[in-house]
């Protein structure tokens, strides 16, 4: 998985509780992304980061926040989890800073399965 780990891999939580998912990379890639994947919707971008402390919203950002204090770590927080946030969450990275040209091939982590009861 291209040096990308996600933790936890599985989590069950209750509605209203805060949840933080962590993505860690060892590839020194500039961009990091959080997606959710649901049947019938495919992969949808939640938030992404283009550098330390630089983040932007994706297609489905409501109810989620992110932080990136180090190149290698990108955190996704659900401030107050809802049942609609039950999903599989994938982290991805792209664009090594060592490449002169990149067409944004993305490398994905193994995913986190989150269930909100």
């Amino acid at each position: 998985d291209a040096g990308i780990t996600q933790s936890p891999r599985h989590k069950v939580t209750e509605t209203g509780t805060p949840v933080t998912l962590r993505c860690h990379q060892t590839e020194n890639h500039r961009y990091m992304y959080w997606y959710r994947q649901d049947p019938g919707h495919g992969l949808r971008l939640i938030h992404y980061s283009y550098g330390v402390k630089d983040t932007d919203k994706g297609e489905v950002s409501d109810g989620y926040s992110v932080s990136r204090s180090k190149t290698e770590d990108f955190l996704l927080t659900l401030e107050s989890a809802t049942s609609s946030q039950t999903s599989v969450y994938f982290c991805a990275i792209s664009e090594s800073i060592h490449l002169a040209v990149s067409y944004n091939e993305q490398f994905f982590g193994p995913g986190t399965r989150l269930t909100v009861l």
């Binding site: 992969l43 091939e105 993305q106």
Partner: protein, 113 residues
């Protein structure tokens, strides 16, 4: 915003045949298009990228075509094997460039003996 369509029905083919998957898009002209493979319980894996000025790209048994007039990409797997069974996703960059990709919902391929 761009819309991507992939056949949601699973494609079942016999081993040794060529599998052809379709990705249609609307509303703009992307600079490139990517294809990914996803196995159950795992994250997508990048396979191929084709640029707007390329008609065809090959990698081993894989071939991708890109018809910017039809706004369509075809993904072919020749001499298919049961190990090729997976879901295949196409992805497009945003209009005007940038690093955010929009993914199709994917087509599940099953290669039978």
């Amino acid at each position: 915003s761009q819309k991507i369509e992939q056949n949601s029905e699973a494609l079942n083919i016999q081993e040794g045949k060529t599998a052809t998957l379709t990705c249609n898009y609307t509303n703009y002209s992307p600079a490139y298009l990517q294809w990914y493979r996803q196995d159950p319980g795992r994250g997508p894996v990048f396979l191929l990228l084709i640029r707007e000025n390329e008609k065809e790209k090959r990698k081993e048994r894989l071939k991708v075509t890109f018809d910017t007039t039809l706004k369509q990409s075809l993904f072919h797997i020749t001499a298919s094997q049961p190990a090729d069974s997976a879901t295949y996703l196409c992805a497009l960059p945003p209009e005007g460039g940038g690093n955010k990709l929009t993914f199709g919902t994917g087509t599940q391929l099953k290669v039978e003996l």
